[in-house]
Each structure stands twice: as structure tokens, then as C-alpha cells.
């Protein structure tokens, strides 16, 4: 008797499992046909206020997220966001995991050489964040101090150039997530964080008395959308859609929603 019960339970469980698997497989197929033309956008969702998850822990929000969806509306295509670790974000573009990167990509000559980068859609520059009482006024004065950046960002690249150029930092740390850099600054384990101004504004807004912007790069580092070389048609469509979004005031509205001021003014 016991054996029969056990066998029934096992069979029922297996059936349930099959049903569950079948269900998801069906759903996937449906999605596949429904969104065959979906525009896949790669982003590292963990970079507030540009791209991060809402308090519910799943919904992506932020300036870039809104830009991606607006772009989809202008191109008349569904948008699918693909969350990716930052240090693999360009490799995944190479291997066609998504069509474009909208993830606070700074426009640099190196990146323009390897990828198609659209014209800028938002102004940005590197800034150095320190404690309010710090004496530092520029990166060259960081000798002997501990500095943190996010791995493979333009901030990381700039710090490496300074180090190669002979700047003797006390210590240099690179983190996977920008949030960890600010955690370390708050815990006093680093003296300065080099970061994009669009992100710094967000963190300083929370703690403006204890921290300050010690230095701003004179050279702007506006952000663009990256596509794979050869994907010229889509790039042209995106450029056109971005132009439209500027003309009809969408970008201004989005910027004011996320930054409280129009950080997109005059970048195009």
C-alpha cells in the first residue's frame, strides 16, 4: 500500500513538472512570434539614476530605461531590456545578445573605433567625489589616497592612465557595481570616487552635507547609444528617433523627471 502511495505521489510530481515545463515552453514560443521584431537593449541595471530596479526589486527604471521605451515607441517596435554585467557589456554586443547598448555609454574615440556610437543624448562628465572636508581639488592631488571606481568605466580608464603616468595612489580599487564604491566612501575605506556626473548627482543628493564634488573634468563625456559595426540601418533609425524625441520635448520631460533639470539641453 505504502509503495502505491509513494509511486502515485512521484508520478503526480513528475506530471506537474512536465506541465510546468510545457507551459513555459509554450509561452516562450508565443513570445518569440509576438516579439520577433523586438528591439533588444543591453544595459547594466544597477547604475542609478540611469538604470536601476524599483523598490519591488524587479521593475527596471531610470533615465535610460525610459529612453529605451520611448525609442521603441518612436520606432514602432517592442523593447526588450537585457540586463548584463558592465564588464561584459560590449562583448555581449559583439555576440549579438542585443541590438544596442543604452547604458550610460560615454562616447570615447576608442569605442567609436570599434562600434557605432550615436550622437550624444545626454550631457555628462567625470567628477571626483570626496568627503566634504577633503583638500583634494584635482586628480593629480590624489597621491597617497585611496580611490575607487567601477571596473572598465571611463573613470577606471582615466585612473589607470594617471597611475601609468606616475601618480602614486595609496590604493586603487575597482568594483563591479558603482553602489559599492559609494558604500566604501561612506564607510571611510576610500577617500575618493571617480564617477559620471549624472550618477554622482544622484548619490550626493542623498548625502550632500558629508560629500562634495572636488573636481569636474573640463572635457565633457556625453553619453551615446552603442551598436555593432555594420548595423547602419538601425543606427540611422535610432538617430532619427532621437532627433524626434528632442524636437517633441520628450527628452526634456524625461530629464526633468529624473534629474530635476534638463541635462539634455544643447547636446544635439
Amino acid at each position: 500500500m505504502k509503495r502505491i502511495i509513494a509511486l502515485t505521489v512521484v508520478l503526480a510530481l513528475m506530471l506537474a513538472l512536465f506541465a510546468a515545463c510545457g507551459g513555459t515552453a509554450d509561452k516562450k514560443e508565443e513570445d518569440g512570434t509576438a516579439s520577433a521584431g523586438a528591439l533588444k537593449i543591453g544595459m547594466e541595471i544597477g547604475y542609478p539614476p540611469m538604470e536601476y530596479v524599483d523598490a519591488d526589486g524587479v521593475t527596471p527604471i531610470g533615465f535610460d530605461v525610459d529612453v529605451a521605451y520611448e525609442l521603441g515607441r518612436h520606432l514602432n517596435r517592442e523593447v526588450e531590456l537585457v540586463d548584463t554585467a558592465w564588464d561584459a557589456i560590449f562583448t555581449s554586443l559583439d555576440s549579438n545578445r542585443y541590438d544596442a547598448i543604452i547604458s550610460s555609454v560615454s562616447i570615447t574615440p576608442e569605442r567609436q573605433e570599434k562600434y557605432i556610437i550615436t550622437k550624444a543624448y545626454i550631457a555628462n562628465k567625470l567628477v571626483l567625489i570626496t568627503a566634504a572636508d577633503s583638500q583634494v581639488t584635482k586628480p593629480e592631488e590624489l597621491a597617497g589616497l585611496r580611490v575607487a571606481t567601477q571596473t572598465e568605466t571611463t573613470a577606471d580608464i582615466m585612473m589607470n592612465e594617471l597611475i601609468d603616468g606616475g601618480l602614486a595612489l595609496g590604493d586603487y580599487f575597482v568594483y563591479d557595481k558603482i553602489i559599492q564604491c559609494f558604500d566604501e566612501l561612506k564607510l571611510g575605506r576610500v577617500d575618493a570616487v571617480m564617477v559620471d556626473s549624472v550618477v554622482a548627482a544622484y548619490y550626493l543628493g542623498e548625502d550632500s552635507e558629508r560629500y562634495k564634488t572636488a573636481w569636474e573634468n573640463d572635457e565633457g563625456e556625453p553619453l551615446g547609444i552603442a551598436l555593432k559595426k555594420g548595423n547602419d540601418d538601425l543606427a540611422a533609425q535610432i538617430e532619427m528617433a532621437l532627433d524626434e524625441m528632442y524636437a517633441d520635448g520628450t527628452m526634456k520631460t524625461l530629464a526633468e523627471k529624473h534629474f530635476g533639470r534638463d541635462v539634455t539641453e544643447g547636446v544635439r
Binding site: F90, K114, E152, D176, Q180
Partner: protein
């Protein structure tokens, strides 16, 4: 053929930075497994102990550290602990990682050691007692020496797991072999760097597998 030579030349340039970064991988895994064995032995003895309180405390320790992800423990020790209890701030990344890996490994090794001790035939303990040995003498002179041979294979297994788990330390900005590999991958824009890196990992695991086999044979000499 020329292409192969070119790739090999490129790879040889990566070997030096990779080997240098593997110092952290190696020292962290060796030290935390050693500390884990020491801690695990005490916890295993506590688990066997007839004292109810000690028994429960040790059981709770194993439940806690085996039941939560290692990455979470690492984050907790490094990021959350200083916020919760400022006096327990660990600013040295390596020490923080070492503590996380050691307490985690101790939980696993406690179970390995307990199982090995309890697998020794009861007759051994009875014989020792009938010869007039105290319970402590029985444990440390009769049971544990025989149990060691049985714990070596699973501890070797545990060591290899820890060696690979050390790749988690990149999350607290320590640059280990895995982190250096992905740094090279993104700066040189080639995934080929995984090849020499995998070879280095295999050399480590190969050497330690051989070492643990030797140890096992050495301890098998009484059987």
C-alpha cells in the same frame, strides 16, 4: 600555422599577470581550508558531545553557515557588519575574505570530520576503554588517527571547491585570478584569455589532488 603562433605569443604575454594574481587565489584557499579544519574539528567534537548546549550551538553554527550563500556571508562581513556594529569594521579586504571563507569552510568540514569520526567502529572505543584509556585519550589517540584517513578525500574535495569559490572576492575589489582574467578579457577585447587562466586553475587543482592522494596513502599505512 602563423595564426596559431600569433595566438600563442599573445597568450604568453598574459601568463605573468595571471600568475601574479593567482597568489590571492592560492593563499586564500590554503589558509581558509587550514583554519576551517581547525575550527571544523572543534565544531565536530561539539556535535558529538553529550553536552546538550554545546551540541545545539555547534548544530546552529553549521545550519547558519552551510545554509546561506558564501557570497552573502562575504558581503555581510565586509559591507553590512560595519554599518550594524561599527566596532566590527574590517578594512582589510583580504582578512575579511579570509574570515568569510574560513567560517564557511569550517561548517562544511565539521560535518566531514564528524562523519569520519562516527564511521570508526564502536569496538575501537570499547577496546580503548577496556585498556583503561580516558574518553579524551580514546578520542585523540585511537579514534581520530583512524578517522583522518577517511576525512582526507572529502577534505580534498572541499579544498578544490574553495579554490574555485575564491573567484567571489572580486566583489570586494580583491584582484584574484578570475578577476584578472576578466580584466584582460575586457581590455584586450578577447575571450581567449580564459584558456591560459583555465590551465592555471587546472595546474593548481592537479597539484593539490596529487598531494591529497599522497596524504591518503600515507595515512593508509596502518590498514
Amino acid at each position: 600555422m602563423e595564426k596559431v603562433m600569433e595566438i600563442l605569443r599573445q597568450m604568453s604575454g598574459w601568463v605573468d599577470p595571471l600568475v601574479k594574481s593567482s597568489g590571492i587565489t592560492l593563499s586564500l584557499s590554503v589558509l581558509s581550508v587550514i583554519i576551517g579544519i581547525l575550527g571544523g574539528t572543534f565544531i565536530a567534537l561539539g556535535r558529538i558531545s553529550k553536552n546538550k548546549l554545546i551540541n545545539k550551538v555547534c548544530g546552529g553554527y553549521i545550519f547558519l553557515f552551510r545554509g546561506t550563500p558564501l557570497l552573502m556571508q562575504l558581503f555581510f562581513i565586509y559591507y553590512a557588519l560595519p554599518l550594524a556594529i561599527p566596532a566590527m569594521t574590517l578594512n582589510n579586504r583580504f582578512v575579511a575574505a579570509l574570515i568569510a571563507f574560513s567560517v564557511n569552510s569550517a561548517a562544511y568540514q565539521a560535518e566531514i570530520i564528524r562523519a569520519a569520526i562516527q564511521s570508526i567502529d564502536h569496538g575501537q572505543a570499547e577496546a580503548a576503554r577496556s585498556l583503561g584509556l580516558t574518553p579524551n585519550q580514546t578520542m585523540f589517540l585511537v579514534i581520530i588517527p583512524q578517522a583522518i584517513k577517511r576525512m582526507i578525500p572529502p577534505i580534498g574535495n572541499e579544498f578544490i571547491m574553495v579554490l574555485k569559490d575564491t573567484s567571489l572576492v572580486s566583489t570586494i575589489a580583491l584582484v584574484d585570478l578570475m578577476k584578472r582574467t576578466s580584466q584582460i578579457q575586457s581590455s584586450q577585447a578577447t575571450a581567449l584569455v580564459y584558456l591560459p587562466s583555465a590551465v592555471i586553475y587546472l595546474i593548481f587543482t592537479g597539484v593539490f589532488t596529487w598531494l591529497f592522494n599522497r596524504l591518503e596513502h600515507h595515512h593508509a599505512r596502518y590498514e
